[in-house]
């Protein structure tokens, strides 16, 4: 049971006295016991949200206990979990912020502090931060993955979120899952969006230039589909904001929805824009609003010069402070603002004479019980949801365990999805994508259809059941592992490892392509053989549309058959070669040397 607002405030006061909030350089002054009382600093305030995945209402969201960093990324942000994250950022164990940024003591703390996020609460907080600083010198930036992830976003093809973002007052955004609707729908959504949608790295394909109507292009000559950057005058400073959409959209998601557009990192083209705005537009600061993912942002910050700040998302890393990257032109600060509406980054900048002189940053956790809901936003959300309530609210089964997804390998909710696929499809093996979105259900709570949709709601939900050779299965596992663990960030795709049901394996993330996965063994104990054929089921195919029912209907069918759902066996791999990795705590499986 959650506490009343009064109790909560009292607890916060105590926590404030006890030094709950991080004491580190350039963290905003936290002498007040109200965590949302952010003192003004400098002349420009940027509010940054990212990857809310269409969560209009408050949710529970558990941070990962497995977020491995390898090679150069080992022991560094964002690959820190649990105590290692607290130590790195100087956060007091047991504090409210420790709960916000880590998975430690999750269930007890979640019961105590309640849900996070929700657009009505975000609206109240954003308005407070804008009003206290001055609306004319504050911007709200959204890193994308905003228009997908819920039942209502699915039913309205993202338009419910466009309306909510307009009401929230998002000034500028870029995208990734926004591109999982059809081209015409995406353009329609962007037209309805009252802010600016920026992406310097999305181009029309040559084929499309010849064969289709391309009047919608931002720039006929460069072939850019969207406006690449915008320039704003804020608090006496001139600031350029460049959009960087997810560069692997056509690989990680179905290319068939967006046949005419091509994505990549395009850091040389980014460099051209940076050089151009600095030379011709006389800007005082250059900011990239990025959906690269934090590892790619860190690498890009080392290659591209002249960028002051990268406000990033995609990898859902709630980082309490930025990482400073030195490069040939000075330095770039790289931020990442978590996911699911759980955080609102608040960055105050002192920008003078062509330079960012200093800054103060807080990644504010949005605890919904501490921030009153904005009435108008709440009414809009209720209105959006009302036609779909009987679908969303169907009670399917009680959660017999804590149900979550986030982490490099199977979460408990993934296991339920994998178990459901196998049971309903009568298959030996199931595969489920390692998305980083998906909310958390506490033990003993009801799993409604809405919670299942949180984990599964995308525009290509169809399932498949097919025969697959052991060698083919191994190839898929290796391919996904390489997209996650390749030491070169530009060769990663940003998802977590594919979730599996019906078999276990050994994973050695530090090895090369084709060598990370071994000892794939069915639950029966029988070793999976390369030449043998297995019955495999899965969902979210990016190539062609699969023939089976939507994944949420499969999971719902499985859950309806039981009063209470438990995870009896978590098919998480035996990990090799990652002992003492700072991105690993309380691992549910075995770790060997």
């Amino acid at each position: 049971m959650s506490m009343s607002r009064r109790e909560f405030a009292r607890l916060l006061g105590m926590a404030g006295v006890a030094g709950m909030l991080p004491l580190q350089g350039r963290a905003a002054d936290t002498s007040s016991s109200d965590p949302y009382d952010v003192p003004n600093f400098g002349n420009v305030r940027l509010l940054h949200m990212t990857d809310c995945h269409a969560q209009l209402l408050p949710v529970y969201f558990r941070e990962p206990n497995v977020n491995l960093g390898l090679a150069g990324a080992s022991g560094r942000a964002p690959h820190l979990v649990g105590d290692r994250l607290l130590q790195h950022f100087g956060i007091a164990p047991g504090s409210l912020e420790a709960h916000a940024f880590t998975c430690l003591n999750y269930t007890d703390a979640a019961q105590q502090y309640g849900k996070v996020g929700g657009f009505a609460h975000l609206k109240t907080l954003a308005d407070r931060l804008r009003d206290s600083f001055g609306r004319e010198k504050t911007l709200l930036l959204d890193g994308g993955d905003t228009w997908q992830g819920s039942g209502t976003a699915y039913k309205t093809r993202g338009m419910d979120m466009v309306k909510a973002c307009n009401a929230l007052g998002v000034d500028i955004m870029t995208g990734h899952w926004e591109f999982t609707y059809n081209q015409a729908e995406i353009l329609h959504n962007i037209e309805a969006f009252q802010g600016e949608f920026l992406a310097q790295n999305v181009f029309i394909t040559e084929d499309a230039l010849f064969s289709t109507d391309t009047d919608y292009l931002h720039d006929d000559f460069s072939g850019r589909v969207f406006k690449p950057y915008t320039i704003r005058d804020l608090g006496g400073a001139r600031v350029a904001i460049i959009g960087q959409a997810f560069p692997r959209t056509k690989i990680a998601n179905p290319a068939r929805f967006i046949p005419d557009w091509s994505f990549d990192i395009h850091d040389s083209r980014l460099q051209e824009i940076v050089d151009q705005v600095r030379a011709e537009e006389r800007v005082d600061a250059v900011i990239v609003l990025s959906h690269n993912g934090m590892d790619v942002d860190l690498a890009m910050a080392g290659r591209v010069t002249g960028v002051d700040l990268i406000l990033g998302g995609h990898t859902h890393d709630g980082m309490p402070a930025p990482t400073v990257v030195k490069n040939g032109g000075g330095q770039t600060l790289v931020f990442n603002a978590g996911s699911n509406g759980k955080f609102l980054g608040t960055l105050d900048l002192d920008i003078r004479d062509g330079k960012i002189r200093d800054y103060r940053y807080r990644l504010l956790p949005v605890f919904s019980e501490l921030i009153p809901a904005d009435a108008a936003m709440q009414a809009m959300i209720d209105d959006i949801r009302s036609p779909h309530l009987s679908w969303l609210n169907e009670e399917l089964a009680l959660a017999g365990d804590l149900m979550f997804r986030r982490g490099n390998f199977n979460g408990t909710f993934d296991q339920v999805i994998c178990d459901a696929l196998r049971e309903v499809g009568d298959a030996q093996i199931s595969l489920s994508p390692g998305f980083r979105w998906g909310t958390t259900v506490l033990e003993g709570q009801m799993i409604t259809m809405e919670r299942v949709l949180d984990q599964t709601c995308l525009t290509y939900p169809e399932t498949y059941i097919r025969e697959m050779k052991g060698s083919e299965l191994k190839l898929i596992m290796e391919d996904v592992a390489d997209n996650l663990f390749n030491p070169e960030p530009y060769l990663q795709s940003g998802g977590d490892m594919v979730r599996v049901g019906g078999f276990d394996y050994v994973c050695e993330p530090g090895r090369g392509m084709g060598e990370r996965i071994s000892e794939m063994t069915l639950d029966s104990g029988e070793r999976i053989e390369a030449d043998k054929t297995y019955k495999v089921t899965g969902w979210a195919t990016v190539g062609t549309r699969s023939p089976g029912p939507a994944i949420w209907d499969v999971v719902a069918e499985y859950l309806r058959d039981q009063k209470e759902v438990h995870v009896d066996r978590l098919n998480t791999p035996i990990l090799k070669g990652v002992t003492n990795n700072a991105g690993l705590t309380d691992y549910q499986g075995e770790i060997v040397g």
Partner: protein, 153 residues
């Protein structure tokens, strides 16, 4: 904007087609010996067949542009350019393909050495551009990753 992108592209395409034709004609004349290079199933042998025994020197002046990860392995855009003098030809090799030599462009004297094409590749492999300039061979190599995709977060 004085000229629409499409009109410009079409103009370039027409010019490009003429250039392509120019580049192709000598190939026909040389077909007798180039066939061995194009049909070879091994990159070293293809290189040998095309240029003789010389090993190309790796050069930063050979600008090879290809994606880190292919969006579609069936049509991977590859561009090669160089500002070296007296460029005679540019060839492109896809190491793991059944026939690694994907293209050879013959560059007439006085022509900008800047070519683009699209190549097919079934799996992650090295792409190598070889430039012949002033009788010598220079190269640049880049690995292009081909992935089954999916599972994006």
């Amino acid at each position: 904007m004085s000229m629409s992108r499409r009109v410009l592209i079409k103009a370039v395409a027409t010019g490009g087609a003429l250039l392509g034709l120019g580049a192709l004609l000598p190939r026909l004349a040389m077909a007798a010996w180039a066939r061995e290079a194009f049909e070879s199933n091994e990159q070293g042998a293809a290189l040998n067949a095309l240029y003789g025994g010389e090993t190309p020197e790796i050069s930063a002046q050979v600008i090879l542009d290809a994606p880190d990860i292919a969006e579609n392995g069936a049509v991977v855009p590859v561009s090669v350019s160089t500002d070296m003098a007296h460029v005679e030809s540019i060839s492109i090799f896809i190491e793991s393909n059944p026939a690694p030599l994907a293209a050879q462009f013959v560059i007439p004297e006085g022509t900008a050495a800047d070519v683009s094409t699209r190549v097919r590749m079934g799996k992650t492999t090295n792409v190598t551009a070889v430039v012949k300039a002033d009788g010598k061979l220079y190269s640049a190599t880049k690995e292009v990753k081909v992935t089954i995709g999916g599972c994006g977060g």
